[in-house]
Symmetry: C2
Subunit: 409 residues, 2 copies
């Protein structure tokens, strides 16, 4: 038997033992959707997550949603009313952000390989471009000049530090992201000299960290770096985007981020900030932390079989919807995401099984030798932490299976 990650708080069973999501039974949700697999996102949990963050953080901190985590259109429309901005990473995401109702002025666009047509779309819409290089700055200024528009430009800085313990390091050494800290002030001056509307700095050191003190230390370094750069530029950045970094517990032993501790440390950091930042505003950019726990992937058991004494539950889902949960995206060692049998939610396990997907590849494993209550053909398996980097971060076309259904409840 191998352990699985912790079931996120907030999920419970009804009197039949059936998992409920947003007050609805999992089986009813699947029936109503018309087919499985199905991603269910809980809007009340999203709102609670945003409220939890706001309660913990210093007043005036802005919250941006990194929509790469989950770009499902109804979720974006719901989120647009809750947060202060969207961060997008492509022209496609820019269109989706604007369609959600988010104001263009509250959309910022990062990404190392923006094409001319993407820069043009952002400038035309009035979104902020987080410049990733001097070359990109020159292209953006040239396009804006042709359009006769004043571009809104921020400078993304590649910091000289990274976020300790983060699953994805975005700083600390040679990176394709942003402008090296040593070159950032000069680029800002050139952007200002060109008459652009300079929006500030974007500094993203890493993501998916669970240690509040590591996040706090990175934020302290980030604000200090922004202060040094502001002094060097001789101007106040209107906004400093501190990046994200707050992760979620996927695996056995993972503990949630202590958000209160992050907020308290950030308040101290901001109180002690360089005077060049006195009039700056600050934002955090969160994706995974806001939505991962609020999503459940429901997949139906198609076959139950025994091979060499081991029991396999074969589902209609798989890595084509849950690439990361299968252990094939950004992880070296495969570990089990939180998993449950929907109709026996919270019940004691009685057997060890492997839950696999329907794809004809040994990579397609959703739960490896996990202890679960008894489950049979037709039962629903629930995979948790499915609200971020699931549907849109998986190869939906693989083996001709197609996309999963999605619903926001």
């Amino acid at each position: 038997m191998k352990p699985h990650g912790p079931i996120p708080p907030g999920y419970s069973a009804d009197s039949d033992g059936m998992l409920t999501i947003g007050g609805d039974r999992a089986d009813a949700l699947a029936d109503f959707a018309g087919d499985t697999p199905l991603f269910v996102y809980d809007s009340a949990m999203i709102a609670a997550r945003v409220a939890e963050w706001r309660a913990a953080m210093p007043t005036d901190m802005q919250l941006h949603y990194a929509m790469k985590a989950n770009p499902y259109a109804p979720l974006l429309a719901f989120m647009a009313a809750l947060v202060d901005g969207f961060d997008v990473a492509s022209g496609g995401e820019l269109r989706a952000a604007l369609a959600s109702g988010m104001a263009a002025a509250d959309v910022s666009f990062a990404g190392p390989g923006k094409r001319d047509r993407e820069l043009e779309a952002a400038i035309t819409a009035g979104a902020t471009i987080n410049l990733e290089s001097r070359g990109e700055a020159e292209r953006a200024l040239s396009i804006a000049s042709h359009l006769g528009l004043t571009p809104r430009l921020a400078v993304r800085v590649n910091p000289d530090f990274d976020l300790k313990g983060s699953g994805m390091k975005m700083g600390g050494g040679a990176k394709p992201f942003g402008v090296d800290a040593a070159d950032a002030a000069a680029l800002v001056r050139d952007v200002l000299d060109a008459g652009a509307d300079w929006r500030g700095f974007h500094i993203f050191a890493g993501s998916q960290a669970l240690d509040a003190s590591a996040i706090a230390e990175t934020q302290r370094q980030t604000v200090a770096l922004a202060g040094r750069l502001a002094e060097e530029v001789g101007a106040t950045p209107p906004l400093v985007n501190l990046g994200g970094g707050m992760g979620v517990p996927y695996f056995p032993g993972d503990m949630p981020v202590d958000v209160i501790a992050v907020g308290e440390a950030l308040a101290e950091t901001l109180a002690a900030r360089d005077r060049a930042l006195t009039d700056s505003r600050f934002a955090m950019e969160l994706g995974r932390w806001l939505v991962a726990e609020t999503g459940v992937y429901l997949t139906r058991i198609v076959d139950r079989k025994v091979s060499h004494g081991e029991t396999f539950l074969v589902t209609d889902g798989g890595l084509h919807h849950q690439l990361a949960a299968s252990g094939n995206f950004g992880t070296v060692i495969r570990r089990n995401y939180p998993i449950a049998v929907a109709r026996a939610f919270g019940r004691d396990p009685i057997e060890t099984v492997s839950v696999v997907g329907c794809l004809c590849t040994p990579l397609d494993r959703l739960g490896d030798q996990v202890a679960l209550p008894r489950a049979d053909v037709g039962d629903l398996i629930a995979l948790f932490q499915a609200g971020a980097y699931g549907a849109s971060a998986s190869p939906a076309s693989f083996l001709g299976q197609g996309a999963a259904r999605e619903t926001l409840v």
Copy 2:
């Protein structure tokens, strides 16, 4: 500097030094397609690959194409005229196979999680179902009975051995695939007793192996197992699908499979086969080996930047089209696929660069510290071995980028 995999044979440059594919210049192909990134598949190379296999294998061996490797519709239509059957892994692939012009009788359907509606579609069309379990057999027989049709059923066997050195092991111990060898004969007898059209065995021990002697030994074991099972059943399997196993050289030091050696050994194996298999036909099921080398992924450089002394070429492509090449699919250690600068194909390298995609994640790396000729913004990077498990096996929607273009030349 880190090495990259060997450029496949058959690619060359024109007098300008520009890579050509199927006689067309890479830059012209990109222009004609209207945008990059672009997958180009070379039909003449595919035909040559099929011919190479037929020349090496014993007469009467059948060649099946495992369309999961590349389901691009024009490629399927081209392939349908070259091979003896298609192997599909979902209802979606079944539809694509039939649309390609392949006769239903030459289509077989494997996959551990077939749904009732997929079984029904296969039975109605007259395709062969490779049964993965007793439960699936019962469902297929029940559905056929309701339809008033005689189903074409083969039994997929989980062998007690695996393919040594294979990238994906599909046999040898507890697996979700097929029926354990110890239980296979009893299932065949039940299928025969139920009046089904028994089509034989499907035995797939592994894939992506380069060692001809390991492949030959696995084929010897596979034919021996089929013989034992046929004796046990007391009937001759019409077809024994020996699976695939033949891989391609992705990485430095990889050598191509010695196909001649595989064919010679297989001839000996078949000559010595159990007499219960005297009237059986045999097939190999190949995907990757047939198409990987015949495809090139072309992506355009959007930015060239230096960070902490390291040069990055940022392209408009990335892991959303080339998940495996980025090192994020089925590999533990990231190594470099074969890569080149299209307009300086075959030229000596002059600098060490990292080629990254446009996605805002450190996972999106197509070439890590590779030695290449000088390349600038607007130049095309060519990634080889892109004909298999590329476009359809990558998360095209990730970060809102969308699918790459594809063309068959």
